[in-house]
């Protein structure tokens, strides 16, 4: 083969390959793509879905160099499925919708009551959707949630979506529930899925004055005493049985959920002050060990024993406080134990009796009681979890205050 023929063949090959792969590259060209940041899915009439897409637009830089908030574009489509909604919008926008930067998927509570497995399966089947995209169950229409989401401290809404679940590590008021985890739990024999509970912020703070935030920390999305520019809020969690929503967790119950998941660094609780009746102490609680769980599956009513260990630091301060006094600290620790034992017991019985759903996957601790998968399947964990009994033991060591120890 002459040098010229060889070069000619190589050239032909290069041209053929450029043509062959250009289709794939063109379809991924930034000019042809519309990046979706959030998808909202609502129930529409005639078994249809109303799918809302939020897109990013480029940031406009001013002459002074400071950047303004990048406005986002929200479009809605009514269709029979998510894929046909995407297809419709592809045509409408003249660009291909790309879901690789989609950070949040919002389902309306109304749709979640009917089941969302079809939508979750479709989304997880998409190569572009990241398993880390968060799932939010909105107590309002998903479209309203998207429209009302307006981060106050971020110019880019995508940045807000990226970080809004970070607070779960130190507040515990919601969890970092992702579609990957949701799908995994949907199919799992030991777990049931959960999602973030979303809603709209209260416009009038006075209307929520009947809530006692010390005694019954029952705040959750749509009734949280928060007023701000951001119209959407994410407090509490949605509990599922299979693909249907079965209940909601308040902020405090979300803390219990995250503690049992061993997915929280610290949280704040308010317990009655042993020295001043009617007053409350705010204490930062940090889990010191992973929860120890033992399950007796000898009967069809599993007996679940749980040991939890925490350390605490007193945050609130008033005059006449003695936070270096061992007796006082022991008394506070004992109060913490009682408070937390009640919290965890109530939470567990709520999941078992009210939700009938093992959202913490306690079934995984029962697995070692069986030698064969078939034996565990026959035990029918999800059904028997409804008959479960719990014994929670909490050991809290409140160490001291923070900067000030005595006043």
């Amino acid at each position: 083969m002459t040098h010229l023929t060889r070069n000619l063949i190589i050239l032909i090959f290069i041209i053929v390959f450029i043509m062959a792969f250009s289709g794939s590259y063109l379809s991924l060209s930034i000019d042809n793509l519309a990046y979706v940041l959030a998808i909202g899915i609502d129930k529409a009439d005639n078994d249809n879905l109303q799918v809302t897409f939020q897109f990013s637009t480029t940031t406009q830089a001013t002459e002074s160099g400071s950047s303004e908030k990048a406005p986002s574009v929200v479009n809605s489509v009514k269709s029979s499925s998510i894929s046909s909604a995407i297809n419709l919008l592809n045509g409408y926008m003249g660009k291909q919708l790309n879901l690789s930067h989609c950070k949040v998927i919002i389902f309306s509570e109304e749709l979640a009551l009917d089941g969302i497995s079809e939508e979750v399966y479709t989304l997880i089947n998409d190569t572009q959707i990241r398993p880390s995209a968060n799932i939010v169950i909105s107590k309002c229409p998903a479209k309203d949630y998207i429209e009302q989401t307006s981060p106050e401290l971020e110019n880019l809404i995508s940045k807000y979506y990226e970080i809004f679940t970070n607070s779960s590590k130190y507040s515990g008021f919601t969890a970092d529930s992702t579609i990957g985890k949701f799908f995994n739990n949907l199919i799992c024999k030991m777990y049931q899925p959960t999602a973030i509970l979303g809603g709209l912020t209260t416009k009038d703070l006075d209307s929520e004055s009947n809530l006692d935030y010390h005694e019954n920390n029952s705040i959750k999305s749509n009734n949280a005493p928060i007023q701000g520019e951001n119209g959407a809020e994410n407090i509490g969690m949605a509990a599922f049985y299979r693909d249907k929503i079965v209940g909601e967790l308040t902020a405090l119950e979300s803390i219990a959920y995250l503690t049992l998941e061993d997915d929280i660094n610290r949280f704040l609780i308010s317990i009655p002050d042993p020295k001043n009746t009617g007053r409350y102490l705010d204490i930062y609680i940090s889990p010191t060990k992973s929860p120890k769980v033992k399950i007796d599956t000898s009967t069809s009513s599993p007996f679940i024993q749980m040991e939890l260990k925490f350390s605490g630091q007193i945050y609130s301060m008033s005059d006449n406080s003695e936070y270096l006094n061992t007796d006082i600290l022991n008394e506070i620790s004992e109060n913490c134990n009682q408070y937390l034992e009640t919290l965890f017991s109530n939470y567990l019985y709520k999941t078992s009796k009210e939700f009938k759903s093992d959202i913490n996957g306690l079934g995984k601790y029962a697995l070692k009681n069986f030698f064969r998968t078939e034996e565990f399947d026959n035990y029918d964990w999800h059904t028997n979890y409804r008959n479960a009994f719990f014994d929670v033991k909490v050991d809290t060591t409140v160490k001291s205050g923070m900067l000030i120890t005595d006043t």
Binding site: V16, F21, P131, S132, N184, F370, F371, R372, F376
Partner: protein
């Protein structure tokens, strides 16, 4: 034929390349599906068996220094058996490699090139294997020596990076589907150690043939650790691989790696490393196929065979009408081919040849 020699480390990586490439696709999932929660125990059991078998193979090969399975077949059954065994191995290597190539290319197409015809993706690999085989004998082996450690390290990284998502309790119930399923039917997972096939062909190529035992034990041991890491990652992370099939389960695991908002989307890096490992594997397998063919036909040079074998692989890869057929071949037929050819047929020939030799010695 034996002008170019293979070093000990190169030989170890050569054996590992088969395990590595099959693990990228459906192998870990198949192990998990077959044995469920007992997958790790089963792999430990099967690994011990694989090490024993590879040790036996080395012992049996010792009586035929410098000979591979083709030469030994000739000793045992003359030219006819030599041609049959040679033909079987050529077909085995070509078919399994082609189908694996098809499956990997299909995965690449789904993930990265949705608008590209599969033939062009396949062709890229064929060009790579033809080019590599035109270079010196050791070129692709040395490249393999560089790439495989990256794959091994990437898998260790994958395991540790996802560790916070693990649910170790998934190792229970300890015996999965039962003792029979784990320790009797589970022996089928021996097919994961298909790399042992190269042991039969290595003796004439080794720089230090006395190191064959070391090569066999180390490569099987590393394969075992590697497989356990891959299977553990899937078993501890996901509940759905038992009921749901994904094209590349380990790729799915790579999508979960995130370190804050800065260090994300590492799956592309994994795919790049795997693609390189795949290209190396293809060129090595083709090289061995050509060597067997040369041995059978006594042709002087292998160079004219390169394009023919490349096109053969392309043609076989295009035979399955769609991904479901090629995927089925990999999960339903491939394990039996490995068990039948690598562990039964070849081992039987070695045993029979050794018995024959012993008989001849006695009669002499």
């Amino acid at each position: 034929m034996t002008k170019s020699k293979i070093g000990t480390l190169e030989a170890i990586m050569l054996i590992l390349s088969i395990v590595v490439t099959h693990t990228i696709l459906s192998l870990p999932r198949e192990v998990t599906v077959n044995t469920k929660s007992a997958a790790i125990i089963n792999l430990i059991f099967v690994s011990i068996l694989a090490i024993i078998i590879s040790y036996i193979i080395v012992k049996l090969l010792k009586n035929f220094p410098g000979s591979d399975i083709i030469d030994i077949s000739e000793v045992l059954g003359g030219k006819a058996l030599k041609n049959i065994i040679g033909g079987i191995f050529i077909v085995y290597f070509l078919v399994t490699t082609s189908i694996l190539l098809r499956n990997f290319s299909e995965s690449l197409r789904i993930i990265h090139y949705p608008m590209t015809n599969i033939i062009f993706i396949l062709f890229l690999f064929i060009i790579a294997l033809c080019s590599a085989n035109r270079l010196a004998f050791n070129a692709s082996l040395k490249t393999n020596l560089l790439i495989i450690p990256f794959v091994l390290v990437s898998m260790v990284f994958l395991f540790f990076a996802n560790m916070n998502k693990f649910i170790p309790e998934r190792i229970f119930p300890i015996f999965g589907d039962g003792l029979i399923s784990t320790f009797v039917l589970g022996i089928g997972n021996l097919s994961s150690f298909a790399g042992i096939a190269f042991l039969y062909f290595l003796p004439p190529y080794l720089k230090k043939p006395e190191k064959l035992k070391k090569i066999a034990v180390i490569s099987t041991g590393i394969s075992a650790i590697y497989l356990i890491l891959c299977v553990s990652t899937l078993l501890f992370m996901f509940s759905f691989f038992i009921t749901t099939n994904e094209i590349t389960p380990l790729y799915n695991a790579t999508r979960y790696i995130e370190f804050g908002s800065f260090f994300q989307r590492l799956e592309s890096a994994f795919l790049l490393i795997w693609t390189l490992a795949f290209a190396c594997y293809l060129s090595i397998v083709t090289k061995f196929c050509m060597s067997i063919f040369q041995k059978l036909t006594n042709i002087e040079t292998k160079k004219p065979l390169i394009d023919i074998f490349g096109l053969l692989i392309l043609a076989i890869a295009l035979v399955p009408k769609d991904y479901s057929i090629s995927s089925n071949f990999e999960t339903e037929i491939y394990p039996y081919l490995v068990l039948g050819i690598v562990f039964f047929l070849s081992l039987s020939i070695l045993i029979l040849a050794n018995l024959q030799k012993r008989k001849q010695k006695k009669s002499a």
